[in-house]
């Protein structure tokens, strides 16, 4: 099975190599097509990505003028190959844990009608960029929250949901996931930890006022859609907060 993985990036030369290595170490899970959208980086991001391509990694790099993360994600979706069956995402500063793709793709093999797996994320403040694992004793929290990388999406679902909403400068991921659950996609919530979400001083979402405004906008759009069409599904059960375990093991909902 072919899995397209969309990675939008802007000036993340420090982290993007770790993100790519974390995916590439799982190549036995599927036939990967990693689509990197370099959204106008002015640092060494593109060179880091090219070094992986030179080593034969299944990465396609597309460079464009800076347009923001929403348009960059859409640019990635437009580059999906015709025969790509499944789609996932990874952000340039996050890490895909070992075995994450194999574990969740197995659900699709056993259920041909399945459209989405949506797993846990582990938010951490320190990652060892050699081992690609959280540093022992770091602050962490495990939960099923809003993160595109938590999901693997059947291609037909992506087509059904459509593009990311370019009216949203942020929370485009929230809006996208809201639309998926409103459309009553057939999903499972595996116990897998699908990503290590790295908190650092340059996280996009640290501009609190803008983040809140865009989050409220995504909520408003969802409420407006559900008001116009009461047959749409609500978002109940989508979010699941677990508690820190200290050993990285997910808690069951």
């Amino acid at each position: 099975m072919k899995l397209g993985i969309v990675l939008p990036v802007y000036n993340r030369e420090t982290y993007v190599g770790s993100a790519l290595r974390s995916v590439l170490r799982q190549r036995e899970a599927a036939e990967f097509d990693i689509i990197v959208i370099d959204d106008g980086s002015v640092d060494g991001t593109a060179e880091v990505v090219r070094s992986f391509i030179a080593d034969g990694a299944p990465i396609r790099l597309f460079s464009q003028a800076n347009t923001g993360v929403t348009r960059a994600r859409n640019a990635g979706l437009r580059r999906l190959l015709d025969d790509t069956e499944f789609v996932s995402f990874i952000d340039s500063d996050d890490i895909s844990p070992v075995g994450r793709f194999a574990a969740d793709l197995a659900h699709f093999r056993s259920d041909p009608g399945l459209e989405l797996t949506y797993s846990y994320m582990r938010m951490v403040d320190q990652i060892d960029d050699e081992t690609l694992e959280p540093v022992a004793g770091c602050d962490d929290r495990i939960f099923r929250g809003v993160h595109l990388s938590a999901g693997i999406y059947r291609r037909g679902l992506i087509k059904r949901i459509g593009d990311f909403d370019e009216e949203l400068a942020q929370s485009e991921d929230t809006d996208f996931l809201f639309r998926i659950f409103e459309q009553r996609a057939r999903f499972v919530f595996p116990d897998t930890i699908a990503l290590y979400y790295r908190r650092h001083e340059h996280n996009l979402t640290r501009n609190l006022a803008e983040s809140r405004r865009e989050f409220l906008k995504a909520m408003q759009k969802s409420m407006r859609r559900r008001k116009a069409d009461p047959t749409l599904g609500d978002l109940r059960g989508f979010i699941q907060v677990a508690h820190p375990t200290g050993d990285g093991a997910p808690l069951r909902p």
């Binding site: 939960f143 809003v146 979402t205 609190l208 909520m219 979010i239």
Partner: protein, 141 residues
Amino acid sequence: MGYSTIYAVANSDIVYETFDGDAVVLDLASGRYFGFSDSGSCVWEALIAQVPPASLVGRPCGDGLLSAADLDAFIARLTEYGLLLPATDAVSTALSPDLAQRLAAAREALKIDMHDELADLVMVDPIHDVDEPAGWPAVKQ
């Protein structure tokens, strides 16, 4: 309800915006979020702008006039949900012409809808709010 009472947003956990005439309110403390009918959005905006309820009663609202009973019930819901409180030292303001026009053009009765299915997300608030001085990650109690 005292119609001369002026109201204000209850506390700093109540965050809100209006998009294309739709008000949306999020209570960061409870994780609940709220949407309104078109007339409800107008009245919410008026109240948080410190327009006294008395000056809203009898205003054109859709096909009729805004009644004291409907406004009373609406404000009761807002205070019950912990979104508004009487503001003792506030200075009243007049209803803006734009809000008056929108209220007159409204087609829906005064209504607020409460949603709580994202409470866990908002309470842990992992992506959209980081309390740096308190350390990270932090779960609101």
